[in-house]
């Protein structure tokens, strides 16, 4: 191990800096650890030690970069650390350093908000990364700065600002997200839709249908249709089951079941949804069966429910295959679907016994 313990202050830092330039990864890591235990604890060396750590955050080896971030976070003076890390976000060339510094800022937490806001006010070239980080601490005081960034001339900054705004609870940002659905930026609209969907905000159908022609929005739009509590969304969801894109088809499956659940007091509307499942095309049925076997648990559960509404006895077999699904939500949905199909089948039996 390289031992710089006996050197003093600046001489020690200089010796550590030399080791940090060595080609030996383990020597560099040990030098970083030495920096964190010795230099960061002394007020006279904390500044230069942090500069060294930020420098080594640009190391070619990601393990060394990660070690440097962990070491910097041990610094006792969090204000100095947050100022230095936020300044270092301006890194123009070294991708590794830029991202290690961002990781450090995110791990350091909300203490970095003031330096981040100050930096953003200067409107630097790297303002997208400032915006990317600002919303991650969940503090609502950054909302005005993010809202202002929605008007930035750079579309990537606008998209980043919307993605961050959309991560806040609906009560804080819902009107801004709804307004953003009129934006000409697809990424802004998508981020807003995903935020609204996360909060299960019910949008009027008139806000959703004009966007349906945009393919990249379709999965998010299917989810939004499922949250409308409006039976008029049904034809769009049935069409969604036939989408070429797997994501849109699966979102439509879940949305159909969500729409059904949200219309609890409206038995007529619920029957309409169930009847539409009975009229499902073979193509939609085929892709639903694939989803039942291959998709994630919420999609599998929704598909099982939908297949239960089809009234088709030939669905009992595929449903029985997921009765022992490792996810209890899926197994329960399959149980209910089979029971429902059983009732239908029993009904058909009774009808066939009636005199003609």
């Amino acid at each position: 191990m390289t031992d710089h313990v006996n050197s003093s202050g600046p001489a020690k830092l200089s010796a550590i800096a030399d080791t940090l330039r060595s080609g030996d990864q383990s020597a560099r890591i040990l030098a970083i650890r030495e920096l964190s235990t010795a230099a960061l604890s002394s007020p006279e060396t904390v500044g230069p030690a942090l500069d060294l750590l930020i420098d080594v955050m640009g190391d070619d080896d990601w393990v060394v970069r990660k070690e440097a971030v962990a070491a910097a976070l041990l610094c006792g003076d969090k204000h100095v650390l947050s100022e230095k890390l936020v300044d270092a976000m301006a890194e123009p060339d070294n991708v590794g350093r830029r991202n290690a510094v961002i990781e450090g800022v995110m791990k350091l937490g909300s203490i970095t908000i003031d330096p981040l806001l100050r930096a953003l006010k200067q409107k630097p070239d790297y303002r997208k990364v400032l915006v990317d980080v600002l919303g991650t601490f969940g503090e609502t005081r950054v909302i005005p700065a993010l809202a202002e960034s929605l008007l930035d001339e750079d579309p990537n900054v606008r998209a980043a600002a919307m993605e961050q705004l959309a991560s806040f609870p609906a009560s804080d940002v819902s009107p801004a997200l709804e307004k953003a659905l009129d934006s000409p930026d697809l990424l802004v609209v998508l981020a807003a839709l995903e935020g609204l969907n996360r909060n299960q905000i019910s949008l009027p159908l008139s806000k959703i249908t004009p966007l349906l022609e945009k393919v990249v929005l379709r999965p998010a739009l299917m989810t939004a249709l499922g949250n409308t509590k409006d039976i008029s969304a049904l034809p769009h969801l049935i069409e969604g089951l036939l989408s070429q894109a797997k994501g849109a088809r699966e979102a439509a499956l879940v949305a159909l079941v969500n729409l059904h659940e949200s219309l609890e007091g409206d038995s007529q509307a619920r029957t309409q949804i169930e009847q539409s499942a009975r009229g499902m095309s073979e193509l939609a049925l085929h892709s639903s069966l694939r989803a039942l076997m291959e998709a994630n648990a919420p999609v599998r559960a929704a598909t099982a429910t939908l297949l239960g509404w089809t009234g088709r006895k030939d669905m009992v077999r595929p449903l029985s295959l997921v009765m022992r699904d490792p996810d209890p939500m899926v197994a329960k949905a399959a149980d209910r679907a089979i029971a429902l199909l059983g009732q239908t089948a029993a009904g058909e039996e009774l009808r066939s016994m009636l005199p003609r």
């Binding site: 991708v95 991202n99 697809l186 393919v215 990249v216 999965p219 894109a245 994501g247």
Partner: protein, 132 residues
Amino acid sequence: MTVSGKNVLVVEDSATMRSFVVAALEADDFEVTTAKSGFEAMKVLAQRKFDLVITDINMPDINGLEVVRYVRESAAHKETPLIIISTDGRDRDRERGMKLGASDYLIKPFKPEDLISRARHFLSQGSSKTEH
């Protein structure tokens, strides 16, 4: 040219951009696998092959340039076409990515059709080298 069933790995840490790219590719019948970081991408790449890799540059831990290097140095993936997508259009980053072996470099934000035409181009070429 049919791309049905062609497998694409999308490496992107932004949830919105990931949704955008996945929806664009799936609407064109690509099969898409996603990774939220370079580290996750390497785990996926260690297990299976892809017809195309699309990666962002700025990501925590292992960044996009390191993903490019890994792909080009790996016997299993060295011929796989790879497109970098980045908000950073500076010549130096583009040059660095291309020097490491990226097949193409697309600056965000891009239209879905731009991504699809590039993806189709490389799949029809069946090679990692760009002709742009």
